[in-house]
């Protein structure tokens, strides 16, 4: 009985004060839900989602993503916001994003690198895009983890030299 109480207490403590790995996992889950949207999302909801996405990025964040023959090289929050809103306008049929199997590696107290498989499906298309993305996180002023950089690793070729 005592052991169960201790275990529950330990779980509750970690729920309230998660370690950095858990924080990053939660952030990735939040990012997944913010980036996904349905076909009937209102323009106001798009704007709100874009605002929430931006809060997860550092002011000087960089995004270098290759997908569907296109490359996005974005620098800073403003460029990211413009890209998020314009892509939502171009693809009104909705986007479903899943971030799975994150590998989180703490480099030092102020930086973390996480790799994750990102699957994106536009509307009801059957051909999903699968990419391995590398997220670079750094601790902001209020001890919050912010995305400093996102780069693509080719799904078939990552990890060759690791």
């Amino acid at each position: 009985m005592c052991l169960v109480a201790l275990w529950l207490g330990w779980k509750f403590f970690h729920f309230l004060f998660p370690d950095d790995t858990t924080r990053i996992q939660r952030k990735l889950t939040r990012l997944e839900s913010l980036v996904s949207y349905g076909p009937s999302t209102s323009p106001l909801a798009h704007l709100a989602a874009a605002g929430s996405i931006l809060e997860m990025f550092d002011a000087k964040a960089e995004v270098n993503i290759r997908a569907e023959g296109r490359t996005w090289n974005l620098n800073g929050r403003e460029e990211i916001k413009t890209a998020v809103l314009s892509s939502r306008q171009q693809e009104p049929q909705g986007l479903e994003v899943k971030i799975t199997d994150p590998i989180i590696e703490k480099r030092d107290d102020g930086s973390i690198v996480s790799l994750a498989t990102v699957t994106a499906r536009i509307g009801s298309e059957r051909e999903p895009m699968v990419r391995i993305l590398e997220f670079h996180w750094h601790k902001g002023d209020r001890s919050q983890w912010l995305i400093a950089r996102i780069v693509t690793r080719k799904d078939l070729e990552w990890g060759r030299n690791e």
Partner: protein
Amino acid sequence: MDTDNTNDSITDQEPGLPSPPSRPWWRRSAGNDPGRTWYRIICLATLTVVTFKLILLPIRITGYSMFPTYRDGQINYANRFSYVWSPPKRGDVVVIKTTGEKVTVLKRLLGLPGERVRMRNGKVYINGELQEETYIQQEGGWRSREIQLGPDEYWAIGDNRAISEYGTITSSRLVGKILF
């Protein structure tokens, strides 16, 4: 002609006899020999867990990168033990893990360790020799420079050359060979 068949009924009870006591549901569901039933359930559960966690990885194919060999929505299994005793062979359709096994990629292995691989107009050349591939419908227009594979590297591509990605993978990322 009317026949009286009420005496044929086997459920008839003699009046005055007490009905047998009803057993609780957990007793009734376990049959006449609950010990044996539980033993069977545990054996079946263990066998299922061992099969689907350690030996076979169930996969659902999404998309058309292996079309026409495999179609969207098909269910299949990756045999994790396929490369324990023998190395992968050319032409094997393999399941490749990404950063984990929740999302995997299905491709065909064409380049083996130590070989030179090149693509020209969608056709694959291994060590300068054109590969006969009867399973592809569209060759696509891929071109790539010749690459030399390392001692633990394989080169993989999907059968639907028009849309499939290709590249080099290490053996640590091979989950197993597709079952059928």
